[in-house]
């Protein structure tokens, strides 16, 4: 398996998904070598072999860049430090490492399972050299990351994705939404793509957690006053559609005055969102936390009544399931993959501000609606398990290998 990160060294959902998928596969009897682009301890992982492709630390996996060379040279040779200066350098070394791995290892691999564009080049190389079936697992495309920009985002990344999708023997998409993008934007035949939705493992959330009412004391006081807290926890980028959410917040506040909006996270759009809130005259109804993790992060889920995923494009969207786990009613865009596996939620099109405002007001003004959404969605995500994901992956490995031999 070719990946870019694993917990605890992950920056986002990709590492979490890879971890749970690999763990479930290992428990079903699959032997996995998991290649990461950095060197580090993974204390919670004993079910597979982790192979470090380069000597850099997890923080340096996007390139050494501006890191102080005097400390870098103490750990790395000068040649290494030069070559690993940027992410392309790290990726190049990653490819070389995979080549080396395939030559050294006497027992050949049955399949190469590559996650996202960062590792695709290594996957293509493995397939070329040793004719091992390549399965490309798409967690997000460059179209998603650029907020569905017409440009398609970074052209180099787009090109690498395109090459990988063309060369892959099979493609796994994390949702129908992602499959559609692969078909429409990359012109890949639909029958080459399997949709395997991600899952959510409630056991992965620290069980000793208990909600601290004082973390968001002010919001809790508002709740006592009958306010409904609408939360979103995300990166503030164009992909997440947050300007639409802000506009819907203003629209909803016109009709229902006891609403407060918690924007948890940070990103390049932060200042724009603050400005927009002020322009819409709702700055005092909107709460910005900055980047949060740990307890403040979980408490942000807990303080909320309604969780909105306003993404313009969200391949899956694990945070929605985490929010449901902490007792939120969900409002998700039709463009979010996770909306495909849930029924007891509200959906809307990301651009439809009125529809979102309507749904927020509806939930806020009806206790019955609020509580039934909260309770029913909890039953739903319990049905989606990583074990099922592992079974699907194994089936795909098997059929793809047979196809390759034939």
């Amino acid at each position: 398996m070719l990946g870019w990160e694993l917990p605890p060294h992950n920056s986002g959902g990709l590492g979490v998904a890879c971890y749970h998928m690999a763990k479930a596969l290992a428990h079903s009897g699959v032997d996995i070598d998991f290649v990461v682009p950095y060197q580090a301890e993974h204390p919670d992982i004993d079910f597979m072999n982790i192979r470090a492709a380069t000597p850099v630390t997890p923080l340096e996996r996007y390139g050494l860049g501006a890191y102080d060379t005097s400390t870098v040279y103490r750990r790395l040779s000068e040649a290494d430090a030069d070559e690993l200066h940027d992410m392309r350098g790290v990726q190049k070394r990653y490819v070389q490492f995979v080549e080396y791995l395939l030559e050294e290892d006497s027992s050949p691999y049955d399949a190469i399972h590559a996650h996202d564009w960062l590792t695709i080049e290594a996957g293509i190389r493995a397939r070329e050299l040793h004719n091992i079936p390549l399965i490309v697992h798409v967690h997000a495309t460059e179209f998603d990351r650029s907020g569905l920009a017409d440009s398609g985002g970074n052209p180099l990344i787009h090109e690498i994705e395109y090459q990988g999708l063309m060369m892959a023997d099979r493609i796994i998409a994390v949702s129908n939404a992602t499959k559609n993008i692969i078909v429409q934007r990359y012109n890949i035949p639909a029958d080459k793509i399997d949709v395997v939705h991600n899952a959510f493992d409630p056991a992965s959330m620290d069980a000793s957690y208990s909600y601290d009412l004082r973390t968001y004391a002010y919001l809790e006081t508002l709740r006592e006053e009958g306010y409904t807290i609408v939360t979103t926890i995300t990166r503030f980028t164009a992909q997440k559609g947050l300007t639409h959410l802000m506009q819907a917040a203003a629209r909803a506040s016109e009709r229902y005055d006891r609403l407060a909006f918690l924007f948890a996270g940070d990103g390049e759009q932060r200042d724009e969102l603050i400005q927009l809130a002020a322009e819409l005259g709702i700055a005092d109804k909107v709460f910005f936390t900055g980047f949060i993790r740990g307890k403040k992060w979980r408490d942000a889920y807990s303080v909320g009544d309604i969780f909105v995923m306003s993404s313009v494009s969200e391949p899956f969207g694990l945070t929605a399931l985490e929010a449901a786990h902490h007792g939120n009613a969900l409002i998700l865009t039709n463009q979010s993959g996770v909306a495909e596996v849930l029924d007891n939620i509200y959906r809307y099109d990301f651009w439809d501000i009125d529809a979102l405002a309507d749904r927020i007001v509806a939930i806020a003004s009806s206790d019955a609606l609020k509580s039934s959404l909260k309770e029913n969605v909890k039953k739903e995500y319990a049905r989606i398990s990583w074990h099922d994901v592992a079974i699907r992956c194994q089936q795909i490995y098997t059929t793809t290998s047979q196809g390759a031999i034939a």
């Binding site: 004082r214 973390t215 968001y216 004391a217 002010y218 919001l219 809790e220 006081t221 508002l222 006053e225 407060a260 932060r270 200042d271 603050i274 400005q275 002020a278 322009e279 005259g281 709702i282 700055a283 005092d284 109804k285 709460f287 910005f288 936390t289 900055g290 403040k296």
Partner: protein, 403 residues
């Protein structure tokens, strides 16, 4: 005929800056103005002590020496109440050095709002209270009663002059802005429109040559003397109005600003007909030459010279709206700590930090701001406003907590 003179008026002020006050503090800790634990840049005490060393102590020593050695030297000061509070707490010697200046009898103190606020434009009742508070504090600290009025940021309009006259002031000061003056010179005493109140107008070119441009063109005392002479001609007075902190803080000691000042004061009074006036003396000595009307508010800030430095963008407008909306609930609480915090949040500097224009004026705003962005200034301020609402909610138990 009266002597040609300089009216030098310096404004002394330090705000209570809001610390990085987050949503996680809101409703829990009410110490908006006191958190220096993480960042000395926003710790009011560290800032005050720094500016005291760089500016207040050396400049007051210089001013006292000039007053003692030069019988013609005079100066006017406006000292905000929030400055006096901070000085009393953290640098009592600075207060004593100002007292020593006032005790010479040749230093006049002007009236203004205690909290350096823009209350005149948002709440006249609150404005009246803050002016009265300032008067009481000046009496108590310096034993004098101010008679000439200066509004925060020199924000002036005909309405303000009407108010000042009705409240017994004997004069008022404002910006001498070209679009208002047109062909007229700022170097005379005028009368405020619709009143008989004498009005002094800042000569902004000569004032800003020191306040903003001193470091840019290595200005010498002789050259500046020539400029003042040229500007003055056969007119009456040159009004040099600027921040006190120009000396040592905005322009550091290394630039030679203190030596320049020392040398210029002597060179000016050494000329046969050159003298200094306090603001009141200038008014008493010179007859007004004409009436000046400013129907729209004029201030001394930015290239627009209006209130837009404080209320020009949406962030500032929202912040001002929120803080003044609290007035009746705050006042009727009769809770001193609450009222005090609310007034500190009215200080104009908070809104100045939320300025987003950029370009030349933005550079000046950035220099004065303790925050790395106007958006952060807004967020911290907004959280403090919400905490005020929370405290009012607890105090009145009205069951109404807005957003």
């Amino acid at each position: 005929m009266s002597q040609r003179g300089i009216v030098l008026y310096l404004h002394v002020h330090q705000p209570y800056r809001v610390r990085p006050y987050s949503v996680f503090d809101t409703g829990i800790r009410h110490d908006y103005f006191s958190g220096g634990d993480q960042d000395a840049n926003v710790d009011n005490r560290s800032i005050f002590e720094k500016v005291a060393d760089k500016s207040y102590r050396p400049m007051n020593a210089l001013l006292l020496r000039l007053l003692q050695t030069n019988p013609d030297f005079r100066i006017s000061l406006s000292i905000s109440g929030v400055f006096i509070e901070q000085a009393k707490e953290w640098a009592p010697d600075v207060i004593e050095s100002f007292q020593a200046l006032v005790n010479t009898g040749r230093v006049e103190i002007l009236a203004e709002t205690y909290h350096h606020s823009l209350a005149f434009f948002y709440s006249h009742t609150e404005f009246d209270r803050q002016v009265a508070m300032h008067r009481d504090t000046i009496r108590e600290t310096f034993g004098v009663t101010p008679t000439v009025f200066r509004n925060t940021e020199l924000a002036y309009s005909d309405d303000l002059a009407t108010w000042a006259e009705a409240h017994g002031f004997t004069g008022i000061v404002a910006e001498g802005w070209d679009p208002v003056l047109e062909w007229r010179s700022p170097n005379y005493v005028y009368t405020a429109a619709r009143t008989s109140l004498p009005l002094l107008l800042k000569n902004y070119r000569l004032s800003d040559d020191i306040a903003f441009r001193f470091g840019q063109h290595s200005l010498t005392s002789d050259l500046y003397h020539t400029w003042v002479n040229q500007s003055l001609g056969d007119q009456s007075i040159v009004n040099l109005f600027m921040d006190y902190e120009t000396f040592g803080e905005h322009q550091w000691s290394e630039t030679g600003i203190f030596d320049f000042f020392d040398s210029f004061i002597h060179s000016w009074t050494d000329t046969s007909d050159g003298t200094f006036y306090t603001v009141s003396e200038a008014i008493a000595t010179h007859q007004p030459v004409a009436e000046i009307s400013m129907p729209h508010t004029v201030t001394w800030a930015d290239s627009a010279r209006d209130l837009s430095a404080w209320n020009g963008n949406k962030l500032q407008q929202e912040a001002l709206r929120y803080v003044y909306a609290l007035e009746s609930d705050v006042i009727r609480s009769e809770d001193e700590a609450l009222i005090n915090d609310w007034r500190r949040l009215q200080t104009s500097d908070h809104f100045y930090y939320m300025y987003t224009k950029g370009f030349e004026d933005g550079t000046v705003h950035d220099y004065f701001s303790p925050y790395d962005s106007p958006y952060n200034a807004f967020l911290y301020y907004l959280n403090a406003i919400r905490d005020m609402r929370w405290r009012l909610h607890v105090h009145h138990n009205t069951g109404v907590l807005n957003g």
